[in-house]
């Protein structure tokens, strides 16, 4: 096509063009084209990495502070008159004593200059609403503290925590800050006395959720995620692998199996929320499976991951060479023995990879779970598959929508934990493939 026909009006015959000339003429352009393509490819990868870096950078920058928690040291007098009026150390009395009053009294004693109700309310807000539980736990564990004064490190209130972490700007006019000048003075005084400390936030990993950002943790969501995913795997893996094995190795190849195959491929691309609607209509409304439980969550997620597992398993089975099957059959194995003793073990690395990727997708899924009531405020960690539970992505969704400022960092921190799990799972899939994959 690059060979222009010699013009009819030019009588002197041009020397015949050799192929090499034609090639040389277009060579530069073709190299340039390749260079452009390479550049575009590299630029696309770079851009992609840049976006990932910005996203991660943003999440880490917002979230890393959530792994620290501010504590305030308060000398607490464990007043036996309030906590144990009868003096018999009765656990019942100790459990129901007025620990909040004790904390308030200790604060008033530490800052005797604070008088007047509104000012005292501000003073009490220095300490988290979870402080009474802290004191209560101390008394339960060491009853000997009764009657003594101890310096106790109490969890700071959310606003103080934000201030210490530098997320509230002290330079703003007082009316624009959530922390008033009087509280600033108190915090500064505590700071000069060395009574404010930032520590690793173990509560984030051991507490359930809470309305108070400083007390909120992901333990409940993690337990819910664990039950849901374990059950999802238990349901979808055997059924998925079985279905793949039957469809690939045993089922006759006819119009019906073609139809099934098309449907499975379609299902893999169905938006996940549709599975949630299906779960709501079938599992909850027809079969009466309890709402908001890992059980119904796992049923829905199992449906969602089944196509992924079936497709991956079929591909893995297909890549096992026919010679294996023929050899097994040739030495007298039954077709079922051939499959289970020879083909399946050889295909297992591929199947596992598919299953792990499917599980990673289920781990990050929230949309279908919203439909079946897992978007709920659940403080206590679930103890089994029929307890109400929520999962990590839904917890993130709920926190992201909370007005309290302290939840911003906690949302990001929870995302970091979720991403950590995802990376580990996807890495496991890659390693499995690397380690066990056989090339034929």
């Amino acid at each position: 096509m690059n060979n222009p026909a010699p013009a009819a009006s030019a009588p002197p015959p041009a020397p015949a063009r050799r192929t090499i000339d034609i090639v040389n003429a277009s060579l530069k352009r073709r190299y340039a084209r390749e260079a452009r393509f390479r550049f575009m490819g590299a630029a696309a990868v770079f851009l992609g990495l840049l976006f990932v870096a910005v996203l991660f950078g943003d999440i880490v920058a917002k979230g890393y502070t959530a792994f620290a928690q501010t504590y305030i040291q308060v000398p607490v007098y464990f007043d036996p008159a309030t906590l144990d009026p009868d003096g018999n150390r009765d656990p019942e009395t100790l459990a129901n004593a007025d620990y909040l009053g004790l904390v308030k009294a200790s604060l008033r004693k530490q800052f005797p200059q604070v008088t007047g109700r509104p000012q005292q309310r501000e003073l009490y807000a220095l300490i988290s609403a979870g402080a009474p539980q802290q004191i209560q736990a101390m008394v339960r564990q060491y009853p000997s503290v009764l009657g003594t004064t101890r310096d106790v490190w109490l969890i700071a209130g959310a606003d103080v925590d934000m201030l210490v972490k530098g997320q509230i700007d002290r330079e703003l006019p007082e009316a624009d800050r959530r922390i008033k000048d009087s509280t600033l003075t108190l915090v500064d005084q505590l700071e000069t006395d060395g009574r404010i400390e930032r520590r690793f936030n173990t509560g984030f990993f051991t507490n359930g959720t809470s309305r108070e950002p400083e007390l909120a943790g992901i333990a409940g969501a993690l337990a819910g995620t664990f039950y849901t995913l374990a059950l999802t795997l238990l349901l979808s893996f055997p059924i998925g692998v079985g279905a793949a094995l039957y469809l690939q190795e045993f089922a006759p190849k006819n119009r019906w199996t073609d139809l099934i195959e098309v449907n499975i491929n379609n299902l893999a691309a169905v938006p996940s929320i549709v599975f949630g609607l299906l779960g709501l209509a079938v599992f909850i409304n027809v079969f009466g499976v309890p709402r908001s439980t890992p059980l119904v969550g796992a049923l829905v997620l199992a449906l969602m991951t089944l196509p992924t597992i079936i497709i991956a398993s079929r591909a893995a089975l297909q890549s096992v060479p026919p010679s294996i099957r023929e050899a097994a059959l040739g030495i007298g194995a039954s077709p079922l023995q051939t499959q289970f003793h020879h083909v399946l073990p050889l295909a297992l690395p591929g199947i596992m990879t598919g299953a792990i990727i499917g599980m990673a997708r289920a781990l990050g899924e929230s949309a279908p779970l919203l439909m079946i009531g897992m978007i709920a405020f659940i403080v206590d960690s679930p103890q089994g598959i029929t307890d109400s539970a929520t999962v990590l992505p839904v917890q993130i969704y709920l926190w992201a929508d909370s007005p309290e400022r302290g939840f911003v960092e906690r949302t990001s921190a929870a995302i970091l934990v979720l991403l950590g799990f995802m990376v580990v799972m996807n890495l496991a899939a890659v390693l499995l493939r690397r380690r066990f994959e056989r090339r034929w």
Binding site: L231, V289, A376, D401
Partner: protein, 347 residues
């Protein structure tokens, strides 16, 4: 191997189901996402008392909550539903039909809907009429004929407003906040046009369509249900306005400020007194039949209606709840305590 696993899973599921049907010892609460922050705060404090388990609070939206609540009586159905509007007569009938008789209505306070802008924003003061004229799909022109909204800048809407592009971020139609905004702000502003106001008497449907139609040409941007996102966008774009609940304004007072509507700034006092025009009442509904069967319902209601929770100095006020006036609060607390069943709503 597959079969064993499968059978195990099935047995597990069956066993779990039969265990569930037996009883329930946690209160189940469903309903509005607006009441969710308050309801959860009460649930948490209630659970901390240690006598009862912490109730499970599900955020389903007001309508979805009503549907679940009215589904019937028994452990499979929720005990309490939260609502950012009063129960409708049709919902009440639906409840009765499914055997849910004896519902206690508790009004818990007000929720203000604010129009906010960045601290470095335009410093606007709007009237309801301005809001309608800026955001309605169709507005009357000089001759009173309805035309697709031609206004591009705030100056077009009202010559005293700044010459800036109309850009309002707000919740999508699925949100209760959007419903309330449309009903209170848009409809209020639309009745400022006498020609449309008269229409209400003759053709109520058309009146509603005109008043509640929000423009779709990009001036009103549906920013999703996440109000924190709107706050961030306002900070990034000082010329934009955002629509969300009062508690988000309170928590972010260092970054954004409320736009005065009709000369009244959205503040605790002005919303509580009813002076600020865009505010609504929020409620929860208790299924009386479940009291005594599911442990703790009475105590939960008592916790919610105690002054340390819903009073003007209570912990819910810290979460952004605007308390009822003292006398009304007292009356509501009494009727809640007595579990006085509600009458059928008028509409």
């Amino acid at each position: 191997m597959n079969k064993t696993l499968l059978v195990t899973a099935m047995t597990l599921a069956a066993a779990a189901l039969s265990a569930q049907a037996a009883a329930r010892d946690t209160i189940t609460i469903v309903g509005s996402s607006t009441v969710f922050p308050f309801s959860t705060a009460v649930a948490e404090n209630f659970g901390r008392g240690g006598k009862f388990k912490t109730p499970k609070v599900e955020s389903t939206g007001t309508g979805g909550g009503m549907k679940l609540f009215c589904g019937g009586t028994g452990v499979d159905h929720p005990d309490i539903t939260n609502a950012s509007r009063a129960m409708k007569a049709s919902e009440f009938d639906g409840c009765e039909k499914n055997g849910v008789k004896g519902i206690t209505e508790v009004k818990i306070g007000y929720d203000g809907i604010v129009i906010a802008e960045s601290k470095s924003g335009l410093d606007m003061t709007l009237t309801l009429k301005d809001i309608f004229t800026a955001l309605a799909k169709d507005v009357p022109d000089a001759s009173g004929k309805l035309v697709p909204n031609p206004n591009k800048t705030w100056k077009d809407v009202n010559p005293s407003l700044p010459d800036a592009k109309i850009e309002v971020l707000g919740p999508p139609p699925t949100s209760g906040t959007r419903d309330a905004f449309v009903e209170l702000a848009m409809e209020g502003g639309c009745n400022a046009y006498p020609s449309i106001k008269d229409l209400k008497k003759t053709d109520e449907k058309k009146h509603k369509a005109i008043c509640q139609g929000v423009r779709e040409d990009g001036a009103f941007i549906e920013a999703g249900e996440n109000d924190n996102l709107i706050v961030q966008k306002l900070v990034a774009n000082p010329k934009a306005l955002g629509v969300f609940g009062y508690s988000f304004l309170e928590q972010n007072a260092d970054k954004i400020r409320g736009v005065k509507v009709g000369g009244v700034a959205p503040e605790y006092e002005s919303i509580s007194s009813g002076e600020y025009p865009i505010s609504r009442s929020i409620y929860f509904y208790v299924k009386n039949a479940h009291v005594g069967t599911i442990p703790g319902i009475k105590e939960y209601v008592a916790e919610f209606t105690s002054d340390k929770a819903w009073g003007p100095d209570g912990y819910l006020a810290d979460k952004g709840l605007i308390a009822l006036p003292d006398a009304e609060r007292k009356a509501e607390a009494q009727s809640a305590k007595a579990l006085t069943p509600m009458e059928k709503p008028a509409k």
